[in-house]
Symmetry: C2
């Protein structure tokens, strides 16, 4: 069952956390953890359909679990008259829906049994913007970093892609599963919150990349070579560890919408592309090295004695300074590609929905982005058009709802 | 290799036409028809990536070949000063690009080797609107049906989703492949034509449905049970057969954008849904029958002696009259689901990108749609917001370009 195995490809280092189970088709009550059901499903050709990722976990699924092929990031704004009781009702409702949908079960009130039994690794992950805590009367519980990011010199932010009281990340390996779950959650929230923006993203379909192969973005670059992967890395840089804090076991999410000038990129030759990135395109190797996962070594020189990696390349600017190893993030990146807009500056309307998880955006994401905004050669072709920051509460026990430790403070 | 087999699932009856080959990764010159390369690819987990569908065929690929998971339908309008020479240049350019892209080869001028070597069953199919023939000075070669369809009583057509001089259908099992090919073709056309509309569609991901299982639309209905499948059916009802006609071996494409009122559908119970459709939801069986592929028999009665299938159900209205067996079409249907629009009549912004291929839209599609528009109970929840008709030329020989038999008239 090579194929089965290759489905766990994106998060190579995360075998430690593996919480992927394979559910036997419809019956949602008993979820075998063994591969018996999986073999049966494989024989009917639908093994991907019935794969599930556990919902109740110490950390929310959708962060350290595998990166699926399709994702909707949905930001909501709460109704003007929202209060603590209202958001508690919404969280109870949503948690119950998400718990069921991700396990291939029917959410309360749905008549669409046939639309929910193929979750295909569906995850639903929640985050709170500052507005959520303000409206719930809990602003004093907001971490300092839960606010707009500092302005960067290259920012071209548009309000229609920025901020929001709540963020829902819905992802799966099947677009139908993402569509149903997204619609259901939007509808369930109707009395309490309305969508502010939706960023629909895609990566390679399941089965297209080899096991643990790094996906490429629309520029053709391997995107995600450097990432936090091991349990140790996540514990020290992603999960918040502070037993006094409602975010204990949680993290933060930075969302950036990054438009890409495909016309301009097409006009650059491969040498320019590699110089700007600081990596080869074919292998994704740091310039001056041979393989993708070779260390980024800014001291390596070429045959002329010049640095192999240009000091203004993306890699050089993103690389954490020796004294600041905390400047690392867990990236979760999807492509977007929308119909061209007549009269727009570029022929295409495409780019990245960039997400990063880290303990503290201000000490981890911000200094990296500051350096990139100041001098990354890639800035010639990329434009940040949206930005948002969310606090991601820890995962749930089976009898808990999202954010309970905050909301029942 | 059960999985490999299940990848040919959608077009159960079309084994006769099977033109799916499995290419060994990059080397595009030699495409083994055997499974050797496929086994190798399977071991690296990328067997879907390198599957290809032959480009040069008597009939264009993308019609009788398998239905892939993702599709962009792109309509173009030719530049005001377009003439015969210009459209010939465009067709030569595009044919060369499509021939290469669909086989995992690099189109002329692309530096993105890594973005084209995973075609994942990519197809590119071309169609011409009336405007194409007019601007090429060939209006006298336009079939009578190549024009706006008659207006139906339920039409709510919007110009932004209607008509166009050219239609390109780009489809694959991987959204990255569709994105790259679509962008490339749009860019290649820049001097000659600009996009009028793009309808991005999706169905289940490869590996989610069992072999030859009928996909469901966002209403949860099996969609495509009744379809033209066998070589005999396609020869008698889809492919135009007239050696004097430039469309010999070609067909016609009707595109309808159909918005779906998901809120309203949610409020209908399963009994109402089944009555309106004329089929059960779980099995997709005609009411009064047991299995999906049981005959639609409008004379079957229920225990009260009433017709099991309501005369205003979708199935009853769509069913060809006994004397008009030619009223059948080859459906190719995708879901769309876009971000909600604030203030829109429905919470969601979703529906169907409906395509149908037939010899003559006026004698095949039109009478069906006329009956549906008059009395289909589903009309309570569906709204036709876009419409277009295109002539689909026959496929190419390896030294031909799209539409050559028309353009060199």
């Amino acid at each position: 069952m090579t194929q089965q195995f290759s489905r766990r490809k994106f998060f190579a280092g995360a075998g430690l956390f593996s919480t992927v189970a394979t559910a036997g088709a419809l019956s949602a009550c008993a979820k075998p953890e063994t591969s018996d059901a999986s073999s049966e499903a494989a024989q009917s050709g639908i093994e991907l359909a019935t794969e599930t990722i556990a919902f109740d976990q110490p950390h929310q699924a959708g962060i350290h679990t595998k990166h699926q092929a399709h994702q909707w990031l949905i930001a909501f704004n709460l109704a003007e008259d929202a209060d603590r009781d209202g958001v508690i009702r919404l969280m109870k409702l949503w948690t119950d829906d998400a718990r069921k949908l991700t396990q291939g079960e029917i959410p309360l009130g749905s008549l669409d049994e046939e639309m929910v039994t193929r979750p295909a690794n569906l995850t639903a992950t929640i985050g709170y913007g500052r507005g959520f805590l303000v409206k719930a009367g809990l602003e004093d519980h907001a971490p300092v970093w839960l606010d707009k990011l500092p302005e960067y010199p290259t920012d071209e932010l548009l309000p229609e892609w920025s901020e929001g009281d709540i963020c829902l990340q819905i992802a799966a390996d099947d677009p139908v599963a993402v569509s149903y779950a997204s619609r259901w959650m939007i509808k369930a929230a109707k009395r309490y919150a309305t969508p502010a923006w939706v960023q629909e993203g895609f990566s390679y379909a399941d089965g297209v990349l080899a096991e643990s192969e790094t996906p490429r973005n629309l520029f053709g670059q391997k995107d995600g070579t450097v990432n936090l992967r091991t349990e140790e890395e996540l514990d020290s840089l992603v999960w918040i560890s502070d037993s006094e804090n409602w975010l204990n076991g949680g993290t933060s999410l930075v969302v950036r919408r990054i438009e890409m000038d495909m016309d301009g990129w097409d006009a650059a030759d491969r040498g320019v592309r590699e110089l700007s990135m600081g990596r080869t395109i074919a292998e994704g190797a740091p310039l001056g090295q041979e393989k993708e996962f070779d260390d980024v070594d800014l001291t390596v020189t070429d045959s002329y004695g010049l640095p192999a990696i240009d000091s203004k390349s993306h890699v050089a600017r993103a690389h954490p300074p020796v004294d600041n190893p905390e400047q690392q993030i867990l990236r979760r990146v999807y492509n977007y590609d929308l119909p061209p807009i007549p009269g727009h500056r570029f022929t295409s309307n495409s780019g990245l929905v960039f997400g990063s998880f880290q303990q503290d955006p201000l000490t981890q994401f911000h200094p990296i982005q500051q350096r990139l905004a100041e001098a990354d050669r890639l800035n010639e072709w990329i434009f940040h058009t949206g930005s948002a920051v969310f606090a991601i509460p820890r995962g749930t026990a089976p009898d808990e709802y999202w954010g309970q430790s905050l909301l029942e403070t």
